[in-house]
Amino acid sequence: MKRKIFLSIIFVLFSCLSVYPEKNVSGWLQFEFGRSASKGLEHDLSNVSAVCDFQFFDTEVLAAVRNDTQSFDFTGKIFYIPFSFEFEKLFINLGFDSYYHQLRYMDISEDHDVVLDTVFELKTKKGFAFRHELGWTCKWNRIYALEPYIDPFFDHSVSMIFSIEKKWQSGMELFFSLGSHNLYRYNLFVSPCYDFGAAYTINNLVRFNGAVEIQMSDQYTAAPMLKYMQIKFGTRFIF
């Protein structure tokens, strides 16, 4: 498993370096440590993750890996913004993004998720940003023990994320998002993910962040239960 983590980090770093010399390219590389609460299947688990993001012209590309003792996640994301409008006090961006996510869970199962979203972004010149993603998600789930008997599970559903953030000139930042998925979790719509946290950026070079990630069990038909809660701390290197 350690080898897998190492190879994944090398892959992410390589992805960054390969585009860095291009003109009009910016990006960041982030390492994060997360610890989950004594709740749900990820009871008292620690995880590490690495995320690389780079932007060039109208496109943003992101690759992320996360690992704990039970599961391994890989996510790739492309965000394309063909329409940008600048007004007196704000910017509006319209675009598309797509995710591919793979989860390997012990020697029990694997998930493959594909998400296609339209994106609406509103950013004020005072540092407030609102983002809404709306689209469709498809999920394949293979359970190895059932393979002789049934086909892999397949289903699709609406995908939606609302997020807001506020950045101050001092470098301080607060953010919140609510969605049917986040970078590593792709359940169906009734188990939404909540992420909120704060970050501080120094000289536009290094950013430190702390965040809490929460997921409820079936929040539509059931008396919901806190299924998962994780506290995360990370450092981002901006280039």
Partner: protein
């Protein structure tokens, strides 16, 4: 600025309206703190003595039991419930010429109460008394059990406080050992087993060499549907893998209000229709000698 405020007020009002559309189920999001699978089902109870069926089904070569599901006492969504017709149909089974076809106990697959109210529990217990009186008269026994499972509707309005004192067997995660077969009853009222229940369940079934039967309110597979099943793919993968690898023959579930059957090797999954909405229940026949299980749907 005033315009922005107006927009926010309208959005807030719309969200509030959406939130209270299901008023009878309570402000469940805020009020469900104590209704938590980790709290209710942290350890497995093993039923014994008076809690087992009076007739020694383990000595019978073949015996049967009945499954009812989603009774939803107090629902305003259907006026289809007909206790008289159900009891009449159940009586016919009890009078069956083949003793192996007479149900020796009943399992109810959750959502007994529509919104977790005390009056609904009282009415449900009246229905169980009718079942039990009929069975006692026909089978000549002095006790007759309906084993109930907790469902999501039972937990609304902090319904667990009512359920744990009023609904037999007053617990939500338990095992009924019956000779060569072990029956496992899971608590999926929150749409998840929770860590403690899942660990305890896996631990217990690994050391249990019997053939096994499992019941849960939420379906785990149901031919691959996603809504109305356990949502977390890791959790459902873990449970289904554990069932397939540990000699489970039947997985009975409710919640969906629709009959769905599928097969995963020796394991047969059967999602039941509702006793109230579809007027259907099921007879399960267990063959102790051949260690097989078969099911039959009964409409009334």
């Amino acid at each position: 600025m005033k315009r922005t405020e107006k927009i926010f007020r309208i959005i807030f009002l719309l969200l509030a309206c959406a939130f209270f559309t299901a008023c009878d189920y309570g402000m469940y999001f805020f009020a469900s703190g104590q209704d938590d699978a980790d709290g209710r089902a942290s350890s497995l109870s093993v039923l014994s003595g008076e809690n087992l069926p009076e007739l020694d089904v383990t000595s019978m070569p073949v015996y049967s039991f009945a499954i009812i599901s989603d009774v939803h006492i107090g629902t305003t969504l259907s006026n289809n419930r007909d206790d008289k017709a159900f009891i009449k149909s159940f009586m016919e089974l009890l009078k069956s010429s083949d003793p192996a076809q007479r149900p020796q106990f009943v399992i109810s697959l959750g959502d007994e109460l529509d919104s977790g109210r005390k009056w609904q529990a009282d009415e449900y217990n009246k229905l169980l008394k009718k079942i039990s009186d009929a069975a006692k008269a026909e089978l000549g026994v002095s006790r007759y059990h309906t084993y109930s499972i907790v469902g999501n509707h039972d937990l609304y309005n902090n319904g667990w406080n009512i359920w744990k004192t009023e609904i037999y067997p007053y617990r939500s995660f338990y095992k009924i050992p019956l000779g060569n077969f072990s029956y496992y009853i899971l608590d999926t009222g929150n749409g998840t087993l929770g860590y403690k229940q899942l660990e305890a369940f896996e631990r217990e079934i690994r050391k249990d060499t019997n053939k096994k039967i499992c019941f849960s309110h939420y379906p785990f597979y149901a031919n691959g549907i996603w809504l109305f099943t356990i949502q977390d793919t890791k959790e459902r993968a873990r449970v289904l893998t554990a069932l397939v690898n540990n000699d489970f023959l039947l997985l009975g579930e409710g919640h969906k209000h629709k009959l769905i059957e599928c097969s995963m090797g020796d394991l047969k999954e059967r999602v039941m229709g509702s006793l109230t909405f579809q007027r259907v229940y099921c007879l399960v026949t267990v063959d102790n000698n051949n260690q097989t299980v078969s099911t039959r749907t009964i409409n009334f």
